[in-house]
């Protein structure tokens, strides 16, 4: 008797949705072992990690606030990932979005019109797209790998922001801290829920996720992107341009990440700082895959990932655990997800040797 992997006749639809749940369950088991090993009561730790952060209205607001940039970035990345366009640099595109949106806020610091905020959002999207256009251009022109180029550009973007807030854009009355002036009220996203920090950026994120669904599921261009990802030869056969696919995939990812960047600086931060994101652009990669590259799934996965961020903070305070625990949970989740995904295309089978042949041998 042996156990072996056998490929399924066709991918299991059930497994493709069960796999994220399995991964969450396995992550919780690892958490249980981990907390026990650290000498914490696992049940209490779970409570602190997953329940306490969202016990009150403020907590719910924080959950949605942090989920917004995650779902924004993830839905844009998913549009590309479905077409095998691997944009890993959403963090950099988010940063460029923050720079461009923030730049508008600073340039029109004394303006009072309602046009400032929309202009910031447009500028942020444009900035993210411009940053994503670099790997897209290098990929279509020189066949440079977009994974590497987009990833490396993250560090360029972060250092560029750092240069600005340490230099040209530093607040002259800011006691030499590396930060810009606080934005004016017209450059800030209005509050959505009293007694929380939740702002209308959340509604904007929802609208983008819904448009993402429209694009991916209902438009011909979205369909063609999916074909390009599933069967490049079929795409070429049908005359779907591989270059156009790369450009659309990268630019959508860049635009949504750029908007997420504006959401951060015009939302909870309210100014430009050397760092405007705790790694939302990278976490969004996990969100995109946990959400099965589907906008609804991405919405749910962004809530989960947001909860991991909040739980990590809560665990630092209540349990004196290091902040690395957030990253650990994120990594474990992705690890188990990739493992569980194997079962979409394969099944375990216990093989009994055929009796007659075995007897004859």
């Amino acid at each position: 008797m042996r156990i072996r992997f056998e490929s399924r006749p066709e991918p299991s639809r059930l497994m493709s949705w069960a796999s994220p749940l399995l991964a969450v369950a396995a992550t919780l088991i690892v958490g249980f072992v981990l907390f026990s090993g650290l000498g914490k009561n696992p049940l209490e730790a779970f409570y602190v990690f997953f329940v306490k952060p969202v016990e009150n209205r403020y907590g719910i607001g924080e959950l949605l606030l942090k989920a917004s940039p995650l779902m924004l970035c993830a839905v844009g990345l998913a549009a590309g990932y479905r077409a095998n366009v691997w944009n890993i640099g959403a963090e950099g595109q988010l940063t460029l979005g923050a720079i461009c949106g923030g730049g508008i806020a600073l340039a029109f610091h004394d303006a009072t019109g309602a046009w400032v905020l929309p202009l910031m959002i447009v500028a942020g999207a444009a900035g993210g797209m411009a940053w994503a256009a670099i790997p897209a251009w290098l990929r279509t022109r020189c066949n440079a790998n977009e994974i590497l180029v987009s990833l490396m550009l993250v560090y360029v973007a972060v250092l560029f922001l750092s240069m600005l807030v340490h230099g040209a854009w530093r607040d002259p009355e800011g006691f030499n801290f590396p930060q810009s002036k606080m934005f004016n009220d017209v450059a800030l996203l209005p509050n959505l829920l009293p007694e929380t920090r939740l702002n209308v950026g959340f509604l904007l994120a929802l609208a983008v996720v819904a448009s993402g669904w429209l694009f991916m599921a209902r438009s011909l261009a979205g369909f063609q992107m999916r074909v390009a990802g599933l069967a490049p030869a079929a795409a070429n056969y049908a005359g779907i341009s591989a270059r156009r696919t790369v450009w659309i995939g990268m630019l959508i990812g860049g635009a949504t990440a750029g908007i997420a960047g504006v959401g951060e600086v015009a939302g909870p931060i309210g100014q430009l700082l050397p760092s405007v994101s705790p790694g939302y652009g990278f976490a969004a990669i996990i969100v995109a895959f946990v959400g099965r590259l589907h906008p609804l799934g991405i919405f749910l996965a962004s809530l989960l990932m947001s909860l991991l961020y909040l739980g990590g903070e809560s665990a630092q305070m209540a349990l004196a655990l290091p902040s690395a625990v957030t990253g650990l949970f994120q990594g474990t989740l992705l690890f188990f997800l990739l493992a569980a995904d194997v079962f979409i295309n394969y099944q375990l089978r216990i093989v009994h040797r055929p009796a007659s042949v075995a007897a004859a041998a």
Partner: protein
């Protein structure tokens, strides 16, 4: 003992895959020195059975006896040790290595010595398979490559040789030579299992035939005593349909005109196209014969627009120069194309038939302001399924779940329903069962009768003679001038397939140059 024990005896062999029963209770007996045909349509379970014999696949049930003794064949090395050799339909040769190096790689350790070159020469000459051990594979024709595969088996002195669809890549002349070799081998006592769906060949070569249908043995017979239609009835369980064919009525000028098309291959082992000239008029079917790998893929990519050209005038479609246009824009001008590969090129395997209809037919009012009209897509897919008798649960069925023949009918139907003015089909019935193949040919003939210009590329000469009005041959990237079908025959086409029409042929000089560059 009066009669010798059978060389190979299978009893009750069964193999079930998750979605399909490949073999059910198969019995097969092969005597020493017998040329035994295993006959069946694609998907009848021939290949699985051969893989079981060669130790690649493990049966779920059943016994295998070799010269009378029960054996378990776990892996191909075990099969080779017993004396079983197999020549696969798709060769496994390294193109950048020489004949001798390729053979050396396949031999089990210990069998290799310094005399290998001499042994290769000796074996290949004894069986009429002339081979130069030092030649590189990439410079060899498909027929020559097959010789390497056969020689590789023969060096291990097999007592049973399995040939999987060996003639699908050969010219009629090369088929004759192969049969000579196989008869000589059999005369020396080597048994041969000959897998094919070509009835004429089996009747010419084999002494016995086992017929498979849907994984089961439906009969054994002496094929020399049977008519082709008798064998076909056993194979498909019904009579072979015959196409209706009307007189050609060509209309107007060339709907598809190719002038002076030369195109270097984009793959190091591809074929460069040289000075291709071609006219296909509305209302006729022009066929391109040739052994695969002689530039068919490159020509199809250039005609379909999957590869665009630098000069627009090279290809003219309904009077429009389209050389620089991509596949999508050529489709808007009335081109339809059925590619050789169904899964992954003609259709997206993971997608539904409806989505696969949308793939190329979205110009048929399937979108409104960039958004998909799903009702129109489903209706189109449903119409294709109904009109071309595709066996599928419905438009939501995933392309991969269809059999090869049914998917091909769907793809051909999808292209035809777009009302093309020029239709190009590459290997339209390759790997398709007999019934579906007849239907596809009929659909192409009907299209011609409606005045569409049809171009068919095929390796099956019978098919081309059956449906085409004019025939051309592609060899080494060059295209012969088309001849009216009734003014030529298989022999003449076979001669052209070896490249005889190429004037000032530099193929030999090219090969010689490669030789000098080699490891001499």
């Amino acid at each position: 003992m009066d009669t010798p024990a059978p060389r190979l005896q299978l009893t009750g062999i069964s193999k079930t895959y998750p979605s399909v029963v490949a073999n059910a209770d198969v019995d097969l007996t092969v005597l020493p020195g017998e040329i035994h045909a295993v006959l069946g349509e694609n998907g009848a379970g021939k290949s699985t059975l051969m893989k079981i014999i060669y130790g690649v696949v493990e049966p779920d049930a059943g016994t295998i006896r070799w010269n009378g003794d029960a054996v378990t064949i776990d892996n191909p090395a075990k099969a080779r040790a017993l004396g079983i050799g197999m020549v696969f339909q798709h060769f496994s040769l390294f193109e950048t290595l020489t004949v001798a190096e390729n053979i050396e790689l396949a031999l089990d350790a210990g069998a290799v010595d310094a005399r290998l070159d001499a042994r290769i020469r000796e074996v290949s000459e004894r069986y009429g398979l002339p081979l130069d051990p030092r030649r590189h594979i990439y410079s060899m024709s498909v027929g020559e490559r097959q010789r390497v595969e056969i020689a590789r088996c023969l060096l291990q002195e097999p007592r049973l040789l399995i040939m999987d669809e060996p003639t699908s890549v050969l010219t009629p002349q090369a088929v004759g030579r192969l049969f000579e070799t196989l008869r000589r081998l059999a005369a020396e006592g080597c048994s041969i299992l000959y897998i094919s769906h070509k009835l004429d060949e089996i009747r010419a070569l084999c002494q016995k035939a086992t017929v498979l249908r849907s994984g089961r043995v439906t009969g054994t017979c002496d094929p020399r005593q049977e008519s082709s239609s008798g064998l076909a009835r056993m194979m498909i369980g019904g009579d072979l349909p015959h196409p209706r064919h009307r007189e050609a009525r060509t209309r107007g000028d060339g709907a598809l005109v190719v002038r002076n098309l030369s195109l270097p291959a984009d793959d190091p082992f591809g074929t460069d196209l040289l000075d291709i000239e071609l006219d296909v008029r509305g209302g006729e079917i022009v066929g391109i014969a040739g052994i695969s790998g002689n530039g068919q893929n490159e020509l199809m990519a250039a005609l379909s627009g999957e590869r665009t050209l630098d000069v627009a005038d090279t290809i003219v479609l309904n009077g429009e120069p389209v050389g620089r246009l991509d596949a999508a824009r050529r489709r808007t001008l009335g081109l339809a194309f059925v590619p050789e590969e169904r899964l992954g090129r003609g259709a997206v395997p993971e997608m539904s038939l409806a989505d696969n209809a949308l793939l190329t037919a979205h110009r048929q009012a399937m979108t409104r302001r960039g958004f998909i009209r799903f009702e129109a897509v489903r209706a189109y897919a449903q119409a294709t399924i109904a009109r071309f008798k595709v066996k599928a649960p419905g438009p939501a069925a995933v392309a991969r779940s269809l059999s090869g023949g049914n998917l091909q009918k769907f793809i051909v139907g999808r292209e035809i329903l777009q009302g093309p003015r020029v239709m190009i089909a590459a290997q339209p019935t390759w790997g398709v069962d007999v019934g579906a193949a007849a239907q596809i040919r009929q659909a192409l003939i009907d299209l011609r009768d409606e005045g569409v210009a049809v171009l068919v590329v095929s390796e099956e000469l019978d098919e081309l003679f059956e449906i085409c009005d004019r025939l051309a041959v592609i060899a080494r990237g060059r295209l012969s001038a088309p001849t009216p079908t009734r003014m030529t025959n298989a022999e003449a086409i076979g001669l052209l397939m070896s490249g005889s029409f190429i004037v000032g042929d530099d193929g030999g000089a090219h090969a010689a140059r490669l030789e000098r560059l080699g490891a001499h």
